[in-house]
């Protein structure tokens, strides 16, 4: 029996050979996860689906470059989806206002111990290290990565100058890196 990662690897391999059936199978397997990810950042269904389209086109064109030694296939695809959504949110002209409640909900969904995927151990380590940070630094990192918050939006949420937020981000990242073993 193949593991989920092995199954996805096989699909990416077939997609590299321009196999449409494999592409549809991959879409069925991961599109809901990746859309959840782009939607969490863009908070707009149409824009999130546009980012999902771009993500799958990139997967189609770059499947041959995926290397199993570099990590799980879902992590590779999630990184592409994340990067695509962040590019889109940073290019976006209009600013969608963010309520404090939305940020609180997002924090709760990320920081609460929940599902134990194959990354359970890694996720646990990340959560433990986040807990060691100054709460404001931790929230900045989580809201930026998971929610697509800009420095400006973080500054508004915490009612601090943008420069302070930048310092918090750098300090938080440095401590996180040390805690996770460099």
């Amino acid at each position: 029996l193949l593991s989920r990662s092995e199954r996805l690897e096989t699909l990416l391999d077939r997609i590299a050979g321009r196999d449409r059936a494999a592409f549809r199978e991959l879409y069925d397997a991961v599109s809901a996860k990746l859309l959840g990810l782009t939607h969490r950042i863009l908070r707009d269904r149409a824009q999130a689906e546009d980012a999902l389209q771009e993500t799958f086109l990139k997967i189609w064109h770059n499947a041959a470059a995926y290397d199993p030694a570099s990590g799980r296939p879902i992590a590779w695809m999630a990184a592409i989806a994340h990067n695509t959504a962040i590019d889109a949110v940073r290019r976006r002209r209009e600013v969608l206002s963010r309520t404090a409640e939305e940020g609180d909900e997002l924090m709760a969904s990320v920081v609460d111990p929940g599902s134990q995927g194959p990354d359970g151990a890694d996720r646990e380590a990340l959560r433990r290290c986040l807990d060691g940070l100054d709460p404001a630094h931790r929230d900045c990192i989580v809201l930026a990565y998971c929610g697509g918050y800009s420095r400006q939006e973080l500054a508004e949420r915490f009612d601090k100058p943008v420069g302070t937020v930048k310092t918090w981000l750098h300090r938080g990242l440095a401590l996180l890196k040390t805690c996770l073993g460099g």
Binding site: R20, F23, R24, Y27, S31, A32, K33, L35, G36, L37, H39, I41, A48, E49, Q53, F56, L57, K58, H61, N62, A64, A65, Y66, D67, A69, S70, G71, I74, A75, A78, A79, I80, H82, N83, D87, V89, R90, R91, S109, V110, S115, D119, D122, R123, L126, I141, V142, A144, Y145, C146, Y149, S150, R151, L169, H170, L173, A174, L176, K177, L180
Partner: protein, 241 residues
């Protein structure tokens, strides 16, 4: 890694840089392996966050819309100004794979005159959207054949006669107009084919791209920048139907 470089990589992955700063980091990563490695490391550290995203079913018809765009030439594919770091590093890994194999033995005189020969009989029949380049020297037999299929979004580089002098490596570079050369891989032995997506070549326009081969220390240019003499170079031409 210097602290400021690591902060920059961390903020790039977090997503807090402005659009122009992101594009600048993506450009720098191509020449700065240290920065690219720092970005990859941050992607790995923060990857577990992805698991916490709740699933959201896409609209019916989205797959069909995507499939309709698969056949469009890669150039028409919307591409973020900054290529996903995951894609860049995937290309780098491919390069290191090539570095792992043993270099050929036949000697090649360095610093030979460079010439591009486009002998029609070398062009295999091909469909539209194909570009072919012969990378050669002195008008002799082609050393390498570069084929680009814009429909497939792939570049294939077949080494015909190229072989590195003992203890040296031949490195293939892609040079987009106005940009620094980007290492594509090492030419290990005659007959080998290197294939990779055009998505790995930033700013790729077949008609203006140059491919060049330099002689480098074994294992490739240490800094990711060409150091040795240019042995071959060539541009691409549209392949006749």
């Amino acid at each position: 890694v210097a602290d400021d470089k690591d902060s920059l990589a961390g903020e790039y992955v977090l997503g807090t840089l402005a659009a122009e700063e992101r594009a600048e980091v993506a450009r720098r990563m191509l020449a700065d392996h240290e920065l690219a490695a720092a970005v990859t490391a941050w992607q790995r550290r923060l990857a577990p966050f992805a698991d916490s995203a709740a699933e959201l079913a896409p609209s019916a018809g989205l797959l069909a819309a995507i499939e309709a765009r698969l056949d469009a030439p890669a150039a028409a594919t919307p591409r973020a100004p900054a290529m996903a770091a995951a894609e860049v590093t995937a290309l780098r890994r491919r390069v290191s794979f090539w570095r792992g194999t043993t270099a050929g033995a036949a000697a090649l005189a360095a610093c030979l005159a460079v010439a591009v020969v486009a002998a029609p009989y070398w062009l295999a029949p091909s469909q539209g959207g194909h570009f072919v380049g012969m990378v050669s020297r002195d008008g002799g037999l082609p050393a390498m054949i570069v084929e680009v299929d814009t429909a497939e979004g792939t570049v294939s580089v077949r080494s015909v006669t190229a072989a590195a002098p003992s203890g040296r490596s031949l490195e293939l570079w892609y040079v987009a107009e106005g940009r620094a050369p980007l290492s594509v891989g090492l030419i290990e032995r005659a007959g080998a084919t290197l294939r990779f997506p055009t998505g790995g070549l930033p700013g790729f326009i077949p008609a203006s791209a140059t491919f060049a081969v330099t002689e480098e220390p074994q294992g490739g240019a240490p800094e990711g920048k060409p150091t040795g003499p240019v042995i071959f170079s060539g541009k691409l031409i549209p392949a006749p139907d």
